[in-house]
Symmetry: C2
Subunit: 443 residues, 2 copies
Amino acid sequence: MNLEQLVLLIDQGEQATLQDTVASYRPIDLAESMEKLDQERQLMFVTLLTPTSAAEVIEQLMPLHQYSILHRLSAKKAAAILREISGDVVADMMLAIHRHQAVNMLKLLPDEYRTKVEMLMTFPEDTAGSLATVDYISARGKWTAEQTLKHIRKVGRTAKFTSYIYVIDAMGVLLGVVSLKNIIITQPSTQLEQIIAPAVSVSAWMEQEETAELLSRYDFVAVPVVDKQLRLIGVVTVDDVIDVMREEATEDIHKLGGSEPLENSYFQTSTFQLYRKRIVWLLILFVAEAYTGNVMRHYETTLSEVIALSFFIPLLIGTGGNTGTQTVATLVRALAMGEVQFKDIFKVVRKELTTGLLTGLSIAIIAFARAWMLGVEYNVGLVVGITALAIVIWASLVAAVLPLLLHKLKADPAVISGPFITTLVDGTGLVIYFTVARLLLQL
Amino acid sequence: MNLEQLVLLIDQGEQATLQDTVASYRPIDLAESMEKLDQERQLMFVTLLTPTSAAEVIEQLMPLHQYSILHRLSAKKAAAILREISGDVVADMMLAIHRHQAVNMLKLLPDEYRTKVEMLMTFPEDTAGSLATVDYISARGKWTAEQTLKHIRKVGRTAKFTSYIYVIDAMGVLLGVVSLKNIIITQPSTQLEQIIAPAVSVSAWMEQEETAELLSRYDFVAVPVVDKQLRLIGVVTVDDVIDVMREEATEDIHKLGGSEPLENSYFQTSTFQLYRKRIVWLLILFVAEAYTGNVMRHYETTLSEVIALSFFIPLLIGTGGNTGTQTVATLVRALAMGEVQFKDIFKVVRKELTTGLLTGLSIAIIAFARAWMLGVEYNVGLVVGITALAIVIWASLVAAVLPLLLHKLKADPAVISGPFITTLVDGTGLVIYFTVARLLLQL
């Protein structure tokens, strides 16, 4: 929405006009416009909206911003809006603010709903439980389709997720699931237990990444979350799963780039945070790479005898690094997507060695030609060609084995970044180069 | 499902037992087990299933495999199953097989449904139209909730997507959308046009990546697809969007690793394909990096006078590459997520230069210490430290500007891979190094 238009609507203060205009915009678009307003107008805007719309807009904000608006509203208004906000969003907000602020705000919720939200707050971050929302509809197996529809008419207005109805027993244990469509299609007198399907559920303590994988594998729009007694405690919906998948992909890309992943978006990350995320790995890699100095010094006499050897150092170790980076990127992603597992290690190594042999031979020919073009001795050209082949194969092997090994050790394979493999291959590549040189040039 | 158990069930050939057992498994799990069976048993298995279950299992296979099963079934059986397969999956299969095979297979579909599928087949790959399914339910604005529910009872059994009902006019133009829940909650006599919400729709020619972004931004479970006359032609559902998002992230990771993206999963890609995807960029980068040989030769006398300078070459250019790779990874992802745009270029450059200054200073101190440890002259240590600072800042600048520039030029910023930026920074880094050395050491 146009910012000027929004300011005008707020300043006029006509509730009906504003609500009418706002109806044709999506909550996220309204939230983004609202964030550009001054505090007073933000408060005015929220007050003029219906509680439902206000809740939808507030849901799109960051937790602290959500709280800063809600706590400045009248208790009655805040309570009306809070009740309409998704349970998982409320739980996240409560966890982001100070404990006594949370206690005060939670008092605004009806008892039963508050209990559910408080339970969601107990699950560790990055688990299915922490993603789950409580705005679903549950029913009993003995209920008929007609009874269930009546129930939906009663409680459905506040429920966010209604595509599936979850059937539970008296203890709250999840028995199965029925789609809303099937409840409509069946005879009104059919009992739910006759049309129930077995539900795939996840434990509240399952990692969010694994939950996302499961939902994506089965093409679900939601998956029920159960506690240790298999009681239904919430539902993880696909929109949250998409956010998780985007976050995970971002993390892997940052890690593969050799940096600690950023927790916020680029511009929300301060320069100092950016520095801290990067300097850790830069220093580790610097110290590791510093070892190349020892290698070079060790071969100082070889180098001073044939100074032309130095011409090819950046080229040869660069090519090793490039090969390693390619392989690592492919394998880290394949591991993340579940395409490759540790038990495939021999298949992977064979595939990468064969590919490395092919690319290495291609590169070796060009490397020899390049040496010839630079006008160095024939023998030095041979050393460069052979080293190119050896380094490419070596880089392929290291880059094939390390990510699989890390995955096996339950570490994140994305730690084996491009810069990491480059650093590793640089030092060892130099040793290969000088060894080949000494052998062939009889130094 | 356990493979032996499945073989046993198929060989016994008791339809009821098999259908009962299969009911507690998900289609993708069944499909994966089925793929391990011999051809005859695969056919037997599909024949023993209900058409609905068979369709769900077949949907999970690759298009050519789908066809190889369907065309060996009796026409009647094939027709029954084909009708139950999602329209978008049928369209993809038809596009994968030979034209006259497709014509024969399409004949098995009822006329009206065939027309819809044939239309889906006209949209280019990677567009919203090619992702769209036709198994949704549409209604008219004048219909009451009661009439609509009656309609759903009639056509709902074959519809895959029923969470939202799409309201169209007599020409098929999309007027808006009503959730199934709201149809149930409202008075039976309410006309849909009274409870309709404006629908966000996408053009059939919108790129699938953009469609995925839109659906993710608005937390939708589906988005309607319209043609140029704004007529509803299908619906893109969130499960397809998740697949698109995974593919796009994989592509970006492969590109950032300096390789052409693989089109299939790791083990589905042959060694030769892997070679072809990688050798292109390896050769380009090799030729680009070969330029470092000229730089080195140019400074041959400097090098031979102070051979200790060569000790730090891998370290210094390695650090430049690492810095560049970190920055590029962050920015390419931020561009893909829409967090950063070209108009932010000055903000980005300022942020990266400041961060580069901080990391550069940290690295410079360690580099100076490292030179001292290697026992080289004080002046050489100073050259190494100053060069480290300069290279880090230079790498930050290049890595900040290039991805934004490519994005502006409508090219894919992920082409600026880690290896690309490393190669670029290697050659220029050497020039910086030798220039600093000549100035400070008066060579």
